[in-house]
Amino acid sequence: MATATLDSEVLLDIRDLQVHFDVRRGTVRALEGVNFTIRKSKTLGVIGESGSGKSVTARAIMQLLAKNGSIVSGEMLYNRQRDDSGDSELIDIAQQPSDSQLMRDLRGGEIAMIFQEPMSSLTPVYTAGLHIGESIQLHLKPRQTVGDQMAKAIARQNRIPREEARQIAVEMLDKVGIPRPEERVVSYPHELSGGQRQRVMIAIALSCGPKLLIADEPTTALDVTTQAQINDLMLDLQEEFGMAIMYITHDLGVIAEMAEDIAVMYLGRIVEQGTTDAIFYNPQHPYTRALLRSIPRIGQTEGSRLEVIEGMVPDPFSIPTGCSFNNRCPDVMPGVCDARMPELLIAGDGQRAACLLHDPDTMQEVTRARVH
């Protein structure tokens, strides 16, 4: 059992999480020390370039990493509330085997996930050898009716008879805004639109009343109009059920609308975490700043060019030494940024940023060196 304590408003605290994958060429260090917290009933948005480790983080929290992956170190402290007594217990998810009864209980009840559509992932999808927990449905199967699949999943999650689960399925479909749910449960997935299929996945995920919903790019493959409906729906349901959401996306517009807090990832690390307002109006990490400047904004880009982040994300086998952003950073301090690793430190409006420019010790040395 973990000995650490958590602030009572914190639901999940991730500390120095490292995840590695074994591949033929060697080891992919997908997460190299991830730190962030998710507050109860609040939405944490996770943004960052493709391959930065957003989905791996989500899967680690579920203990659903691919077979060639492992949690090398770190803690994932989950503040579990006992509904009956009001007491809470602290569970370190990093220490729980994927197929343990405790993990199954958590996945089936308190932590639910909506997966990224394979179509919308920019990185190659690794499906072979996935540990798919028995209570988790990745995607709707084509040849079974929506109702059958929902009933099966809901019955398993909530350990209730199939018939009762079917009733809940119909109620949930209604909740997520699918018209005439009694008719919809007998239709097949291909008879639903993409937006409706995603609503079904949300209905399944929410049927067990989770405390934490992990949504990995839930709307990336959908139209803006459908995306708006799904996101509004998630906000409504969050208000109703009081769950926390970890919302992963590439879309800075979506994150501005959805999240109270934001974590910015780059190459397997959190480079900045803070309130949405602080991240958008007073970003401290050069990567966050560059990211915010590189998006087109309606009404503000008349005749202008977009600012770009030069270069590309390095491949996972040639990550630069020191700060992993140093080879693309506009504010790089040569000889400093490639030599030491920045830590997450308080900066700006109370957020935390991992940049040596915000490290007082480093900056003192830099100034001293300049004077001499």
Partner: protein, 346 residues
């Protein structure tokens, strides 16, 4: 007044274009109906401009744009293209819709296309230099050594280095692959390029690089773009004018500022309000869009948007509003285009 092909500044004019796909059923594959993917669409593209084309998935953007360059044979309508192949001046106008295919080939050199998916649109067994010279070869323009230089020039124009020439597509990132696709499109020195969701599959920072590149190339090579995308902020950034499609029809066309700040069709208004703004202090007030996009094989009566439109009245259910000019360079297909007070952005 919308311009027409009589105006030498217009490169392409599409008139009453239709593209229907047959729906077949049963053993005999009998035609039981039609998907009206493009249903009486008219627009023009002016020389040197970027026309953005937006709308929900399945509304017919890809079909309309491909039919407009005769990658698909139109069911009906005219596609008037101004060719500059034979020297200078105002060029000659051809109707691509009815042109025999053998006469199309020389015109193909003037029109190119960039696809959404940089992975599947490049032959994995061809090296980068072979991919880029392929169109030259097809048109009998591969001159060996001279062409080598040409290909190198094209690759450097899109920001790839000479040592990349002999590599294969899988050795590149998504953004680099899209650059290869763009270099290939430029090979025949086209005047018009159809870009179908060219940055949708790219990461934010790579998207910015690619959009800048497209703008630079447009200036350098005097290009005209038809830019299809669903991201309204990307379209606003790159376009001069924007056209909005809904279920196979054009519902609004206007210069971009005008369209975004002063929309004159309720669908445009709803679309703009659904677009998420990267500004947490000023969230958009959403115009609710109830229900689904209608089925293009069985569209609603009257205005196709009426079942989802909050301003609909009786006439909307019975009469189809045509695309009408309602202001300078601004057209809308709504019965109440000049009466409604619609909400734009900013």
């Amino acid at each position: 007044m919308p311009a027409s092909i009589e105006d030498p500044g217009v490169l392409l004019e599409v008139r009453n274009l239709k593209k229907y796909f047959p729906i077949r059923k049963g053993l005999l594959r009998k035609v039981v109906g039609h998907i009206k993917a493009v249903d009486d669409v008219s627009f023009e593209i002016r020389k040197g401009e970027t026309l953005g084309l937006v709308g929900e998935s399945g509304c017919g953007k890809t079909t309309a744009s491909r039919t407009a360059i005769r990658l698909y044979d139109p069911t009906d309508g005219a596609v008037l293209f101004r060719s500059h192949a034979n020297g200078s001046g105002d060029g000659e106008v051809y109707d691509l819709a009815t042109l025999p295919l053998r006469d199309m080939k020389p015109l193909r050199r003037e029109i190119a296309m960039v696809f959404q998916d940089p992975i599947n649109s490049l032959n994995p067994r061809m090296s980068v230099s072979d991919i880029v010279r392929e169109p030259l070869r097809v048109h009998g323009l591969d001159l060996g050594r001279e062409t080598d230089e040409e290909v190198q020039g094209l690759l450097s124009a899109v920001g790839l280095r000479p040592e990349h020439m002999e590599r294969y597509p899988h050795e590149f990132s998504g953004g680099q692959r899209q650059r290869i696709g763009i270099a290939r499109a430029l090979a025949l020195r086209p005047s018009l390029i159809l870009l179908d969701e060219p940055v949708s599959a790219l990461d934010v920072s790579i998207q910015a690089q690619t959009l800048n590149l497209l703008q630079d190339l447009q200036e350098e090579f005097d290009l005209t773009y038809l830019f299809v995308a669903h991201d309204l902020s990307v379209v606003e950034h790159i376009s001069d004018r924007v056209a909005v499609m809904y279920v196979g029809r054009m519902v609004e066309v206007a210069p971009k500022r005008e369209l975004y700040t002063n929309p004159r069709h309720p669908y445009t208004e709803a679309l703009l309000s659904a677009s998420p703004k990267p500004d947490p202090r000023n969230p958009t007030v959403r115009i609710p869009l109830i229900g689904q996009v209608p089925d293009p094989s069985n569209p609603p009566s009257g205005c196709y948007f009426h079942p989802r439109c909050q301003y609909a009245e009786d006439i909307c259910r019975t009469e189809t509003p045509p695309l009408m000019t309602i202001g300078e360079d601004h057209a809308s297909a709504c019965h109440f285009a000049d009466k409604l007070e619609l909400q734009g952005m900013q």
